[in-house]
Amino acid sequence: MRVSLILVLLAGSCVSDEAHRHYRQGLSAKRVEDVDVLFEKPDRPFQIIADFQARNATIDYMRREAAEVGADAVIVSRIGGTYDRGSTIRTTDQPSGFRVESTGAVGHLVGTAIKYE
């Protein structure tokens, strides 16, 4: 029981290097389930209200942060990470003609909180 509690506390405290920027204040917080998670810009017009960045964060973390600032959605990207030195570069797999095999994603998760217009 004590070991489980310690593990849960450690898991919850693993997010680090948090850096958030808020561009618009005064919006009411929303329920987390009402915040859309996107991985690219939406087709409809929007305003950016905040940027979030953290190591070891999850998509749920970004969604919670976005809900706190009253966002309609959060656009999530993972940047940086480990790179497999044994990777070979192939030029025929992807439409871009370039493919890198990489392992791991230890870098930053970034999220941009938006409000639809």
């Binding site: 690219e40 950016i48 940027d51 940086g80 990470g81 790179y83 030195r85 370039f98 870098g107």
Partner: protein, 115 residues
């Protein structure tokens, strides 16, 4: 047998050590770009407008793996929507088993910021 195990472990350690750290400094979101389209620049572009998206640090690459390091930078900076990375410094770091290559740079996008 022991030497083979040590060699195997050393190889595994080296294979896992390369990384590219990207920290976002710009505002807003830009959709990822195709990695093959990300330019690697060693000089600051003076005649073309651009804005910064983030800072990039690569380390743990083989001392002669310059092109591979550049490709790793392309791959990781592309997630940020970068169209180029300006390499600001680069060097070699002596290590326990071998010398490794590192570099730092700035991920940029051409034109004016949208946000």
């Amino acid at each position: 047998m022991n030497r083979s195990i040590i060699t195997l472990l050393a190889t595994a350690m080296l294979a896992a050590c390369s990384s590219v750290d990207v920290t976002k400094t710009g505002k807003g979101h830009y959709d990822p770009t195709p990695p093959s389209e990300v330019e690697i620049l060693k000089t600051q572009p003076l005649n073309r407008e651009y804005f910064e998206l983030g800072v990039v640090t690569a380390d743990g690459f083989g001392s002669s793996d310059v092109a591979k390091m550049h490709n790793a930078i392309r791959d990781k900076a592309a997630d940020l929507g970068a169209q180029a990375v300006i390499i600001t410094s680069e060097g070699l770091m002596p290590g326990g088993f071998s010398t490794s290559r590192w570099c730092t740079g700035v991920a940029i996008r051409w034109g004016k910021a949208e946000f």
